[in-house]
């Protein structure tokens, strides 16, 4: 399938050790809510072009906060980037307005899908193409329908009445309408049946492999995410505690213990695990 995604001009050597260019980079970023709550502390994350990067961590680790910063909507929750910044194609982008970020090709599928419930499938997709011209939007819509034939069947359906899986497809399709370079997905598996999750993940892999899209995948479901990701970061209470290739993370004993539900040292009681969790810290 042809894509209209332009490749960036070659840049100086990226900070990370990966061979490809870094498309999006959180650089030493610190995010504070309400002048009081530090949600993200000195986090650096690099998303290489054309890869799937998984951002893992439990509830409240700050994953969604990072995505909100990326999309420029922190201000709606009194959040402020106090330090560091976000670079996209080597441009500072963390002071740009949300619509400008979308025009540059950064988009996210928000947590909980957030389709416009009273609008039809077609209208939801139209809203995704809001920043594009009518002709561009129609072309994108055909591609979305090719990716999700189900949406084509349901194009006149009110989105609020569709199933969770269809809504997730619509949310992803709507984001794809913006013609993104970088697609971030916030917990795409949340509340969906395993079969539907398989379907969604297949599409995410296709986006990378066939459309050469870069994907930032935020998940609590670490197993799923690491299965398809190239690289992963683990976030805990606002800090990156571990990062590495997906293979390395999957093999890591601690990751297995905490995120993949594999016990290495025999089955302990839940209480022991909790105690162990409390005692063992990721960071010194």
């Amino acid at each position: 399938m042809p894509t209209t995604i332009p490749h960036p001009t070659p840049q100086a050597a990226p900070l990370t050790a990966t061979a490809t260019d870094v498309l999006l980079e959180f650089r030493n970023i610190r995010i504070v809510y309400d002048n009081a709550i530090e949600a993200i502390r000195d986090v650096s994350i690099a998303v290489p072009e054309g890869s799937i990067v998984a951002l893992l961590g439990s509830n409240g680790a700050g994953k969604s906060t990072l995505l909100k910063a990326m999309s420029g909507i922190l201000y709606t929750e009194e959040g402020v980037i106090e330090n560091g910044g976000i670079r996209f194609r080597n441009d500072e982008v963390h002071r740009l307005a949300p619509d400008e970020l979308v025009r540059r090709g950064i988009v996210q599928v928000p947590e909980g899908r957030r389709v416009f419930a009273a609008l039809t499938t077609d209208e939801n997709l139209q809203m995704g193409g809001y920043t594009r011209t009518g002709a561009e939007a129609r072309e994108r819509r055909d591609k979305v329908f090719a990716l999700f034939p189900r949406l084509h069947e349901r194009r006149d359906q009110i989105a609020g009445y569709m199933s969770g899986g269809e809504q997730q497809m619509l949310a992803i399709g709507r984001a794809l309408m913006t013609d993104p370079v970088l697609l971030a997905l916030d917990e795409p598996s949340l509340g969906l049946a395993p079969l539907i999750i398989d379907r969604i993940y297949e599409v995410i892999v296709r986006l990378r492999d066939e459309l050469k899209m870069t994907v930032l995948l935020v998940e609590q479901n670490a197993q799923r995410a690491l299965d398809i990701a190239d690289y992963g970061y683990i976030l805990e209470t606002g800090r990156v505690v571990l990062d590495g290739t997906a293979k390395k993370l999957t093999a890591n004993e601690d990751v297995q213990e905490f995120y993949l539900g594999v016990s290495s040292s025999g089955r302990k009681s839940l209480r022991d695990v909790k105690h162990y969790k409390r005692r063992k810290r990721w960071l010194s």
């Binding site: 909507i73 619509d99 416009f116 609008l119 809203m127």
Partner: protein
Amino acid sequence: MQYLVQLLISGLAIGAIYGLIAMGFAVIYKSTGLVNFAQGEMTMITAYIAWTISTTVSGNVFVVALGAILAAVLLGLIIERLVMRPMLGEPVFATVMVTIGLAVILRSAINFIWDAYPHGLDIGMGRGIVHLGGIGVRTGQLAVIATLLLLLAAIWAFFRYSKVGVAMRAVAADDRTALLMGISATKVHALAWAASSVIAGIGGVFFALSYDLSPAMFQLGLKAFPATILGGLDAVLGSGLGGLLIGITENLAGGYLGSGMKEVAGFAMIIVVLMVRPFGIFGERDIERV
């Protein structure tokens, strides 16, 4: 029978004016989630500007209409930019209080800029009488009913088919997600204020054509607000129809039960309707944010 038809027609005519202003309320509520208590005052100012144009520039219908529409757009944009945008993200209650303050300021502005005497808006139209089957109807009354119906159709098509109209619904439903799609909420809000000002302003000009301009005209807002509640605060078309209902009810009650009942009837109907459908006849959801 003739008396009834006469009452119905004049009820429809005044109801159409309420309906236009009620649609002004609904357009702002639908896209910003706010009730603009300065709607009646904005309507009045647009009517006064139309009158000023007719006395100073030209009394030509098209000049007055175009001038009034432009003035209404500007008025809406200025208020959105200067007063409402700084309140973005503040609690809804505070923002609604700001519109009440704005209402008082605009009300007084009439006395500063113009004067406290009644004026007739004369553009050589609207006061003539046509006879329809033996019933005398003022052309202005027919025109306002036709305008309301035309605008109802236009606005329905706008929200249904135009990209911007769909975007307004999207912003109203979930403004944060709309932002994520690159829809600028501030632009949509500005547009809503401009559109609301124009729609209500048209109602105000028609009122001035049929009756008179006076600094008490802002009370039209107080009459139209119940029409919006009746039709449903988030239902633009419903609000227009709500206006017609209130106009007819008022006139029938006034005609058959005595003029004292005229003021009461509309509100009595609203109380009954809201008991049955608390979110209005055409409203889609509970209105909790007011």
